[in-house]
């Protein structure tokens, strides 16, 4: 007979099970490991853990039982994220939350293993991403099964950008493979012909070799060049003169001229030039496709796009159903679980709530709300599950309003790619004009044979391959170099503006400081040992999501086992209360503000001059200890200021004046403004821009989105709000502002290289054009010249690839 292990729940044969007495009852264990852990828990008098665990599991099972998961089986909903793999299994990615530790991964794995129909599941611990393959089982059953053990399944949208970049990379890889192979084979057969200057080779052998080069050139055009020709035809239909058109014309003209000479046995053949040209362009396209795919892959890791779901109450009882955001209407009642974020504006129905509004207000500490308070979208629930009533649906919510304003502000910035495209648009008619005039000139001079050769040479010389490569290759190289440093460039146009930036404005919270509190100093007024009090404070906070709790945990973790607490109560807005069993006594202890901890004492410790976060520990009559916390400066702040002394620095913050002053004084930033609303920041930035300044805005909250969209360049960090990360020009993956120096230096170097590339390309055209017109340059020599000039541009751009490897 199989029974469940009391500790881990795994099925075990009753006859093989080990046994231990817990709470005066014999309990079965599956293995020596579980037995050992259970004995440790029992010996430490912590068997209440098992009661707590069972209660939580029962609560979760009840929540799963009273929730309707039928949305997961709705075909219209499934089309947004579900695919079918090659073997016909249903396939999708999900974000599972909350995954706190590797044990969560183990538990989810075990739960899914029990279900028939699950073919494969891959769980990424860091991102919480679950890749699932299944058949003959409904998705609602899977979601319900995970909900019964306390995990929420949120479908992840397929990332169109990454699918597109992957397909482009595949096409470019195959193009490069064929292009290089055909170029090598063509050169292998063309070389003996070049070396046979005395015409000693048998004419049949020469013909055979020439026919081979023709075959390889045709192969390269049919497999690789056809995409460019199709694209050029599409551009002609759209009335656009593109680089694809000039490239296709050059390839086809060289091919036709060579075929004419081959079949008429007159003049030179340029099949090798055709394949070399295709190979070079294929190489540049592969480099760009690879870099683009790397960037999209990293961006997909940083910015997970999910199909957010909400739990809506059905009727007036506590039964809930999963609904998508657009289905939520004003008046709906929602259940918001711990850690979940609000997607719509709501009114609080529960008695109390503790919310993290950092993404909206920039304020680091949680705010406490009472029943009836209005909660705006973007806030995150840090306390128990709460009930709310929707007052504005998603499109009319605060977040929807910000998104609409951001849409109106996009595409207002210069784009260097468009500039080069417009230059190319002008160059193509000039190219055709120069070719036509050369042909006409030689025909008028009476040499129609030379007219054809010179026209062809002019066409190849003027073909702006090097010019077309000069900007994209430099930008691709610099994007790769910055990516290896931990910087993602979302908008290449920002690189153009960076060298001319005059002012850098910071939002204080989360940009100049880390936003993670640390225990700076503390004073022990009691007779208890320091470590015991620190462990007591950490233990009191063990179930709290407050930033102060995390700081206590980091300072006092590892010793909580020595503290025995009972009746832990979280008094929202005040602090935490518990009964502490110490020295054979039971003392009621409190952690929080002085008025809550020891209201009758006047032991007010002046906050440390470097911080404004102070927490007291007491027993209602006297203060046992006082703790001072600090929000430390982000790494690299001082280095950034030292390295870029020519810039003007500003702090535009929504925080209190004294908080802003402390950070500004620590960094020596003179211009600081506090208590600003997003609209105030926007007006300040716009007034600077009107005065001719180029402004960079560094921020991380939703409240900064408008200002960042208005700034000439915007920078944010990987822990910023998703909306901000999507909108921002530049994203730092490392929490260090020393990246700023690297970014500005790299941008300056990039434009130096671009100007060098463009200068070289123009110089090449200016020097070679008269020679080609006058007949001093043959088409094959022009082909080699074009390849060499493109190669110089490639090598010059490759200089930007210097840099240290970024390690996540």
């Amino acid at each position: 007979m199989m029974i469940d292990c009391f500790h881990c729940g795994q099925a075990v044969d009753q006859h093989r099970a080990l046994s231990i007495v817990i709470d005066d009852e014999p309990r079965c264990m599956c293995c020596a490991g579980c037995l050992s852990v259970a004995k440790t828990i029992s010996d430490a008098s912590l068997t209440q853990y098992y009661r707590l665990r069972d209660n939580i599991l029962k609560q979760r099972a009840r929540l799963a039982e009273r929730s309707d998961f039928s949305l997961f089986d709705d075909p219209a909903f499934q089309t947004g994220f579900m695919m079918t793999d090659r073997q016909g299994y249903a396939e999708a990615n999900f974000i599972v939350s909350p995954i706190d530790c590797p044990a969560c991964v183990w538990l989810i794995e075990k739960q899914l293993m029990k279900m028939k129909g699950i073919r494969k599941c891959t769980i990424d611990y860091l991102s919480g991403r679950l890749h699932l393959l299944w058949e003959d089982i409904t998705l609602s059953a899977i979601a319900k099964s995970l909900a019964s053990i306390g995990y929420t399944l949120t479908p992840e949208k397929p990332n169109d950008a990454i699918i597109q970049s992957k397909n482009s990379l595949k096409r470019a890889t195959f193009g490069l493979f064929v292009g290089i192979l055909c170029a090598m084979q063509t050169m292998m057969f063309a070389l003996p012909i070049y070396l046979d200057t005395d015409w000693v080779m048998q004419s049949e052998t020469r013909l055979f070799f020439e026919a081979a080069t023709l075959c390889f050139a045709l192969l390269a055009i049919l497999i690789v060049g056809k995409d460019w020709i199709i694209s050029a035809l599409s551009d002609i239909r759209s009335g656009v003169l593109s680089m694809n058109l000039s490239l296709s014309l050059a390839i086809l003209l060289l091919l036709m001229a060579s075929m004419f000479n081959f079949f008429n046995k007159t003049g030179n053949l340029y099949f090798d030039s055709v394949t070399m040209l295709i190979a070079f362009v294929a190489l540049s396209q592969w480099i760009q496709a690879r870099i683009n795919h790397q960037i999209e892959s990293l961006r997909a890791t940083v910015m997970v796009q999910t199909l957010p779901l909400c739990l809506r109450y059905i009727g007036h009882d506590d039964t809930t159903e999963y609904v998508t955001l657009p289905d939520i209407q004003a008046g709906d009642r929602l259940n918001i679980e711990p850690f979940d974020s609000l997607m719509v504006d709501v009114k609080l129905l529960s008695a109390h709530a503790s919310l993290d509004e950092k993404m909206r207000t920039g304020e680091n500490l949680p705010v406490h709300k009472q029943s009836g308070d209005i909660l705006l979208a973007g806030a995150r629930n840090l306390g128990e599950a709460i009930d709310v009533e929707v007052i504005r649906p998603v499109d009319q919510s605060w977040m929807g309003h910000v998104q609409q304003m951001l849409l109106g502000m996009s595409d207002q910035k210069p784009d260097i790619i468009h500039k080069t495209q417009s230059i190319a648009k002008w160059l193509l008619p000039l190219l055709l004009l120069a070719t036509g005039m050369t042909y006409a000139g030689w025909v008028l001079a009476g040499d129609s044979h030379q007219a054809w050769l010179s026209a062809l040479a002019v066409f190849v010389v003027v073909c702006p391959c090097a010019l077309a490569l000069s900007v994209p290759l430099a930008l691709s190289a610099t994007q790769t170099a910055l990516l290896t440093q931990g910087i993602i460039i979302n908008q290449a146009s920002a690189l153009e503006t960076l060298p001319s930036i005059t002012d850098i404005a910071f939002d204080k919270t989360g940009t100049l400081t880390t936003g993670e509190l640390i225990l700076n100093t503390w004073v022990n007024f009691s007779h208890y040992p320091d470590m015991l009090l620190l462990a007591l404070a950490a233990r009191l906070n063990s179930n709290s999501l407050h930033p102060v709790a995390r700081a206590f945990y980091n300072a006092g973790s590892g010793h909580e086992g020595s503290v025995c607490l009972d009746q832990i109560i979280n008094r929202l807005g005040k602090g935490i209360e518990a009964v502490w069993h110490v020295d054979k006594q039971s003392i009621t202890v409190r952690l929080g503000a002085l008025d809550f901890v020891a209201p009758d004492t006047d032991c007010r410790q002046a906050p440390d001059h470097r911080n404004d976060y102070t927490v007291y520990l007491g027993n209602h009559e006297e203060v046992l200890a006082v703790f001072h916390f600090d929000d430390p400066l982000r790494e690299g702040c001082h280095q950034m200021l030292l390295d870029n002394q020519d810039k003007h620095y500003h702090i535009l913050s929504g925080d209190h004046q004294h908080t802003v002053d402390m950070v500004a004084d620590a960094l020596g930033i003179v211009d600081r403004q506090a208590r600003l609303l997003p609209e105030d920041k926007l007006h300040i930035i716009q007034s600077w821009q009107k005065a001719g300044k180029k402004v960079m805005m560094v921020g991380d909250g939703l409240n900064d989105s408008l200002v960042m969209a208005a700034a000439d360049v915007s920078v944010s960090f990987s822990d910023a709000a998703n909306l901000t990360k999507n909108q921002v020009d530049i994203l730092f993956l490392k929490d260090s502002l020393s990246l700023m120096t690297r970014l500005i230096t790299q941008a300056t170097q990039t434009f130096d290289i671009i100007y060098q590339n463009v200068g070289w390309a123009i110089l090449y055209h200016v020097l070679m054009l008269p020679l080609a017109v006058l007949g001093y340059v043959t088409p094959w020599l022009a082909g080699i010249g074009m390849a060499v000039s493109s190669m110089i541009v490639c090598l010059n751009s490759a200089k930007l690839l210097k840099g240290n490897q970024w390690k996540p």
Partner: protein, 55 residues
């Protein structure tokens, strides 16, 4: 010349064969991530569950 009559078409056919192999390799995803395998042994493996209940 006789040798070339055989060798040149063979080289052409071999090139076409290599292109076909390259097409298959590229299509089957063998070039999707050319750096991952080198680092694979240094990274923690994902948890992969293969459920054989119905197999």
């Amino acid at each position: 010349m006789e040798a070339l009559m055989i060798l040149v078409p063979i080289s052409l056919m071999v090139t076409v064969l290599i292109i076909l192999i390259g097409y298959w390799a590229n299509r089957s995803g063998q070039y999707d991530d050319i750096e991952k395998d080198a680092f694979h042994s240094l990274q923690n493996d994902d948890v992969v569950v293969k459920n054989d209940h119905n197999n």
